[in-house]
Amino acid sequence: MKGRARAKIDVLLTAEDGLPPKMLTDTKLPQIKELRINSKEALRILLCKGPDPKTKNDEITLLFCAAERDKKYVPRDALERAEENRKLVLQNPELYRTPRKKDADPEKSENGSSGQ
Protein backbone atom coordinates (compact mmCIF):
# COMPACT_ATOMS: atom_id res chain seq x y z
CA MET A 1 0.00 0.00 0.00
CA LYS A 2 2.75 2.42 1.00
CA GLY A 3 4.76 1.57 -2.10
CA ARG A 4 1.81 2.16 -4.42
CA ALA A 5 0.98 5.48 -2.79
CA ARG A 6 4.59 6.61 -2.91
CA ALA A 7 4.89 5.71 -6.61
CA LYS A 8 1.84 7.77 -7.52
CA ILE A 9 2.90 10.76 -5.46
CA ASP A 10 6.44 10.66 -6.88
CA VAL A 11 5.14 10.62 -10.44
CA LEU A 12 2.54 13.27 -9.66
CA LEU A 13 5.31 15.59 -8.51
CA THR A 14 7.69 15.01 -11.39
CA ALA A 15 5.54 14.29 -14.45
CA GLU A 16 4.83 16.81 -17.19
CA ASP A 17 1.59 18.75 -16.81
CA GLY A 18 -1.44 16.74 -17.89
CA LEU A 19 0.37 13.43 -17.37
CA PRO A 20 -0.36 10.75 -16.35
CA PRO A 21 -3.99 10.77 -17.47
CA LYS A 22 -6.78 10.55 -14.90
CA MET A 23 -4.29 10.56 -12.06
CA LEU A 24 -6.49 12.75 -9.90
CA THR A 25 -10.19 12.19 -9.55
CA ASP A 26 -12.66 14.96 -8.80
CA THR A 27 -14.52 15.02 -5.51
CA LYS A 28 -17.68 16.86 -4.49
CA LEU A 29 -15.47 19.82 -3.59
CA PRO A 30 -13.76 21.23 -6.71
CA GLN A 31 -10.69 22.35 -4.79
CA ILE A 32 -10.04 18.86 -3.44
CA LYS A 33 -8.91 15.97 -5.60
CA GLU A 34 -8.59 12.29 -4.87
CA LEU A 35 -5.60 10.05 -5.48
CA ARG A 36 -6.82 6.48 -5.72
CA ILE A 37 -4.63 3.67 -4.45
CA ASN A 38 -6.01 0.23 -5.09
CA SER A 39 -4.50 -2.59 -3.11
CA LYS A 40 -5.93 -4.95 -0.50
CA GLU A 41 -7.78 -1.90 0.73
CA ALA A 42 -9.00 0.98 -1.44
CA LEU A 43 -7.07 3.96 -0.14
CA ARG A 44 -8.13 7.49 -1.10
CA ILE A 45 -5.67 10.29 -0.48
CA LEU A 46 -7.47 13.62 -0.52
CA LEU A 47 -5.25 16.44 -1.67
CA CYS A 48 -5.28 19.87 -3.20
CA LYS A 49 -3.01 21.96 -5.38
CA GLY A 50 -1.32 24.69 -3.40
CA PRO A 51 -3.42 25.68 -1.46
CA ASP A 52 -1.22 28.78 -1.27
CA PRO A 53 -2.28 30.66 -4.45
CA LYS A 54 1.34 31.70 -5.02
CA THR A 55 2.50 28.11 -5.36
CA LYS A 56 -0.62 26.52 -6.74
CA ASN A 57 1.17 25.12 -9.78
CA ASP A 58 4.22 23.92 -7.89
CA GLU A 59 2.90 22.31 -4.75
CA ILE A 60 0.38 19.77 -3.65
CA THR A 61 -0.83 19.26 -0.11
CA LEU A 62 -1.94 15.89 1.17
CA LEU A 63 -4.95 16.72 3.32
CA PHE A 64 -6.51 13.52 4.51
CA CYS A 65 -6.20 9.80 3.97
CA ALA A 66 -9.39 7.79 3.84
CA ALA A 67 -10.43 4.31 2.84
CA GLU A 68 -13.28 3.59 0.47
CA ARG A 69 -15.87 0.93 1.16
CA ASP A 70 -19.10 0.48 -0.81
CA LYS A 71 -18.24 3.65 -2.72
CA LYS A 72 -18.22 5.68 0.49
CA TYR A 73 -15.36 7.20 2.42
CA VAL A 74 -14.32 5.74 5.74
CA PRO A 75 -14.54 7.83 7.84
CA ARG A 76 -17.69 9.22 6.24
CA ASP A 77 -16.70 12.82 6.92
CA ALA A 78 -13.30 12.46 5.24
CA LEU A 79 -13.99 15.15 2.65
CA GLU A 80 -15.12 17.67 5.25
CA ARG A 81 -12.04 16.95 7.34
CA ALA A 82 -9.86 17.38 4.28
CA GLU A 83 -11.46 20.77 3.64
CA GLU A 84 -10.89 21.78 7.28
CA ASN A 85 -7.24 20.85 6.90
CA ARG A 86 -6.98 22.78 3.64
CA LYS A 87 -8.26 25.92 5.36
CA LEU A 88 -5.84 25.35 8.20
CA VAL A 89 -2.91 25.08 5.82
CA LEU A 90 -4.08 28.12 3.91
CA GLN A 91 -3.90 30.24 7.08
CA ASN A 92 -0.21 29.57 7.43
CA PRO A 93 1.30 27.58 4.56
CA GLU A 94 4.87 27.92 5.88
CA LEU A 95 3.97 26.03 9.02
CA TYR A 96 3.02 22.94 7.05
CA ARG A 97 5.42 23.14 4.14
CA THR A 98 7.83 20.22 3.88
CA PRO A 99 10.27 20.72 1.03
CA ARG A 100 11.12 17.58 -0.84
CA LYS A 101 14.78 16.72 -0.85
CA LYS A 102 16.28 16.90 -4.28
CA ASP A 103 16.11 13.30 -5.45
CA ALA A 104 18.43 14.01 -8.35
CA ASP A 105 21.38 14.58 -6.07
CA PRO A 106 21.37 11.77 -3.50
CA GLU A 107 25.02 12.13 -2.54
CA LYS A 108 24.48 15.70 -1.35
CA SER A 109 21.53 14.60 0.73
CA GLU A 110 23.59 11.81 2.25
CA ASN A 111 26.26 14.27 3.33
CA GLY A 112 23.66 16.54 4.84
CA SER A 113 24.67 19.36 2.56
CA SER A 114 21.50 19.71 0.56
CA GLY A 115 20.42 22.68 2.60
CA GLN A 116 16.93 21.27 3.06
Binding site: M1, R4, A7, D10, A15, P21
Partner: protein, 180 residues
Protein backbone atom coordinates in the same frame (compact mmCIF):
# COMPACT_ATOMS: atom_id res chain seq x y z
CA UNK B 1 21.13 7.52 -12.35
CA UNK B 2 21.59 6.34 -8.74
CA UNK B 3 18.52 5.67 -6.61
CA UNK B 4 17.90 8.60 -4.21
CA UNK B 5 18.86 7.80 -0.65
CA UNK B 6 15.39 8.25 0.86
CA UNK B 7 13.92 5.90 -1.72
CA UNK B 8 16.80 3.46 -1.45
CA UNK B 9 15.97 2.86 2.21
CA UNK B 10 12.34 2.17 1.36
CA UNK B 11 13.28 -0.13 -1.50
CA UNK B 12 15.12 -2.34 0.98
CA UNK B 13 11.65 -3.58 1.96
CA UNK B 14 10.74 -6.11 -0.72
CA UNK B 15 6.98 -5.60 -0.42
CA UNK B 16 7.31 -1.83 -0.72
CA UNK B 17 9.75 -2.12 -3.61
CA UNK B 18 7.60 -4.38 -5.74
CA UNK B 19 4.44 -2.40 -5.05
CA UNK B 20 6.29 0.79 -5.95
CA UNK B 21 7.54 -0.38 -9.34
CA UNK B 22 4.36 -2.30 -10.08
CA UNK B 23 2.28 0.82 -9.63
CA UNK B 24 4.49 2.64 -12.05
CA UNK B 25 3.95 -0.07 -14.65
CA UNK B 26 0.21 0.68 -14.65
CA UNK B 27 0.93 4.39 -14.72
CA UNK B 28 3.32 4.16 -17.62
CA UNK B 29 1.12 1.92 -19.78
CA UNK B 30 -1.90 4.20 -19.40
CA UNK B 31 0.20 7.30 -19.95
CA UNK B 32 2.07 6.06 -23.00
CA UNK B 33 -1.11 4.75 -24.59
CA UNK B 34 -2.66 8.20 -24.36
CA UNK B 35 0.50 9.97 -25.53
CA UNK B 36 0.89 7.67 -28.55
CA UNK B 37 -2.79 8.02 -29.47
CA UNK B 38 -2.57 11.79 -29.30
CA UNK B 39 0.73 11.80 -31.21
CA UNK B 40 -1.14 10.05 -34.05
CA UNK B 41 -4.06 12.46 -33.68
CA UNK B 42 -6.46 9.62 -33.07
CA UNK B 43 -9.57 9.83 -30.93
CA UNK B 44 -10.31 7.04 -28.49
CA UNK B 45 -13.08 6.00 -30.86
CA UNK B 46 -10.69 5.80 -33.82
CA UNK B 47 -8.08 3.82 -31.91
CA UNK B 48 -10.80 1.49 -30.65
CA UNK B 49 -11.91 0.91 -34.23
CA UNK B 50 -8.35 0.11 -35.34
CA UNK B 51 -7.85 -2.30 -32.44
CA UNK B 52 -11.28 -3.89 -32.73
CA UNK B 53 -12.35 -2.70 -29.31
CA UNK B 54 -14.96 -0.38 -27.89
CA UNK B 55 -14.15 3.25 -27.08
CA UNK B 56 -15.00 2.62 -23.44
CA UNK B 57 -12.27 0.00 -23.30
CA UNK B 58 -9.66 2.46 -24.54
CA UNK B 59 -10.86 4.94 -21.92
CA UNK B 60 -10.36 2.33 -19.22
CA UNK B 61 -6.92 1.38 -20.54
CA UNK B 62 -5.88 5.04 -20.44
CA UNK B 63 -6.81 5.24 -16.77
CA UNK B 64 -3.79 4.99 -14.46
CA UNK B 65 -5.92 3.18 -11.89
CA UNK B 66 -6.46 0.23 -14.21
CA UNK B 67 -4.02 -2.65 -14.08
CA UNK B 68 -5.80 -5.68 -15.53
CA UNK B 69 -4.55 -5.38 -19.09
CA UNK B 70 -3.19 -8.46 -20.83
CA UNK B 71 -0.24 -8.91 -23.14
CA UNK B 72 -2.65 -9.79 -25.93
CA UNK B 73 -4.55 -6.52 -25.52
CA UNK B 74 -1.31 -4.57 -25.50
CA UNK B 75 -0.16 -6.45 -28.63
CA UNK B 76 -3.34 -5.40 -30.41
CA UNK B 77 -2.82 -1.79 -29.39
CA UNK B 78 0.82 -1.88 -30.46
CA UNK B 79 -0.25 -3.07 -33.91
CA UNK B 80 -2.93 -0.38 -34.12
CA UNK B 81 -0.42 2.31 -33.14
CA UNK B 82 2.18 0.81 -35.52
CA UNK B 83 4.82 0.33 -32.84
CA UNK B 84 6.49 -2.61 -31.13
CA UNK B 85 5.43 -3.97 -27.75
CA UNK B 86 8.54 -4.63 -25.68
CA UNK B 87 8.26 -6.70 -22.50
CA UNK B 88 11.43 -7.29 -20.53
CA UNK B 89 12.67 -7.87 -17.01
CA UNK B 90 14.52 -4.84 -15.71
CA UNK B 91 16.40 -3.52 -12.69
CA UNK B 92 14.83 -1.33 -10.02
CA UNK B 93 17.16 1.56 -10.80
CA UNK B 94 16.11 1.60 -14.45
CA UNK B 95 12.48 1.82 -13.38
CA UNK B 96 13.22 4.62 -10.92
CA UNK B 97 14.99 6.53 -13.70
CA UNK B 98 11.97 6.14 -15.96
CA UNK B 99 9.74 7.45 -13.20
CA UNK B 100 11.71 10.68 -13.06
CA UNK B 101 11.11 11.32 -16.73
CA UNK B 102 7.40 11.09 -17.48
CA UNK B 103 7.14 13.54 -20.36
CA UNK B 104 5.41 13.43 -23.72
CA UNK B 105 8.75 13.58 -25.48
CA UNK B 106 10.11 10.56 -23.64
CA UNK B 107 7.00 8.50 -24.34
CA UNK B 108 6.32 9.39 -27.97
CA UNK B 109 7.43 6.93 -30.66
CA UNK B 110 7.39 7.27 -34.44
CA UNK B 111 5.24 4.78 -36.25
CA UNK B 112 6.81 2.06 -38.41
CA UNK B 113 5.92 4.01 -41.53
CA UNK B 114 7.54 7.17 -40.20
CA UNK B 115 10.67 5.22 -39.29
CA UNK B 116 10.91 3.66 -42.75
CA UNK B 117 10.36 7.02 -44.40
CA UNK B 118 13.18 8.55 -42.37
CA UNK B 119 15.51 5.63 -43.11
CA UNK B 120 14.79 5.92 -46.82
CA UNK B 121 15.66 9.60 -46.77
CA UNK B 122 18.94 8.89 -45.01
CA UNK B 123 19.94 6.18 -47.48
CA UNK B 124 18.91 7.93 -50.66
CA UNK B 125 21.84 9.96 -52.10
CA UNK B 126 19.41 12.10 -54.07
CA UNK B 127 17.95 13.47 -50.91
CA UNK B 128 21.27 14.36 -49.34
CA UNK B 129 23.69 17.18 -50.16
CA UNK B 130 26.40 16.06 -52.63
CA UNK B 131 29.32 16.44 -50.22
CA UNK B 132 28.01 13.68 -47.98
CA UNK B 133 29.25 10.17 -48.69
CA UNK B 134 29.09 6.81 -46.87
CA UNK B 135 30.91 6.55 -43.60
CA UNK B 136 32.61 3.19 -44.11
CA UNK B 137 36.10 4.49 -44.90
CA UNK B 138 36.09 6.86 -41.97
CA UNK B 139 34.94 4.12 -39.64
CA UNK B 140 37.76 1.84 -40.82
CA UNK B 141 40.41 4.50 -40.34
CA UNK B 142 39.43 6.02 -37.06
CA UNK B 143 37.22 3.36 -35.56
CA UNK B 144 34.43 5.79 -34.83
CA UNK B 145 31.21 6.61 -36.50
CA UNK B 146 28.89 9.53 -36.21
CA UNK B 147 25.38 9.20 -34.91
CA UNK B 148 22.41 11.48 -35.16
CA UNK B 149 22.82 14.78 -33.38
CA UNK B 150 26.62 14.82 -33.58
CA UNK B 151 28.35 17.61 -35.39
CA UNK B 152 31.42 17.50 -37.57
CA UNK B 153 33.70 20.46 -37.13
CA UNK B 154 36.30 21.40 -39.69
CA UNK B 155 34.33 20.54 -42.81
CA UNK B 156 30.77 21.37 -41.99
CA UNK B 157 29.04 22.41 -38.84
CA UNK B 158 25.67 21.07 -39.80
CA UNK B 159 24.19 18.04 -37.95
CA UNK B 160 25.52 14.72 -39.15
CA UNK B 161 23.02 12.15 -40.31
CA UNK B 162 23.54 8.56 -39.18
CA UNK B 163 25.60 6.58 -41.66
CA UNK B 164 26.87 9.51 -43.70
CA UNK B 165 30.14 11.37 -43.60
CA UNK B 166 31.88 14.22 -45.30
CA UNK B 167 34.54 14.08 -48.09
CA UNK B 168 38.15 12.99 -47.58
CA UNK B 169 36.87 10.35 -45.25
CA UNK B 170 39.41 7.83 -46.52
CA UNK B 171 42.49 9.86 -45.59
CA UNK B 172 44.47 8.79 -42.56
CA UNK B 173 44.14 12.14 -40.86
CA UNK B 174 40.62 13.37 -41.31
CA UNK B 175 40.52 17.19 -41.11
CA UNK B 176 37.63 17.16 -38.68
CA UNK B 177 36.54 15.65 -35.39
CA UNK B 178 33.22 14.47 -34.10
CA UNK B 179 31.71 16.52 -31.35
CA UNK B 180 29.04 14.78 -29.30
Amino acid sequence: MPIPKNLRMDLADSEFAHAYVDEFLSLSIATQLKVLREQRKLTQEELAHLAGMKQERISVLENVNYSSWSINTLRKLAKSLDVVLKVSFETFSSRVTEMKNVTRESLERPSREEELELDAKLESPNLLPSYYEPTTAYTQTVGKTATAGQTIVGIASRPVLPGVMSPNASSNQPPYSIVA
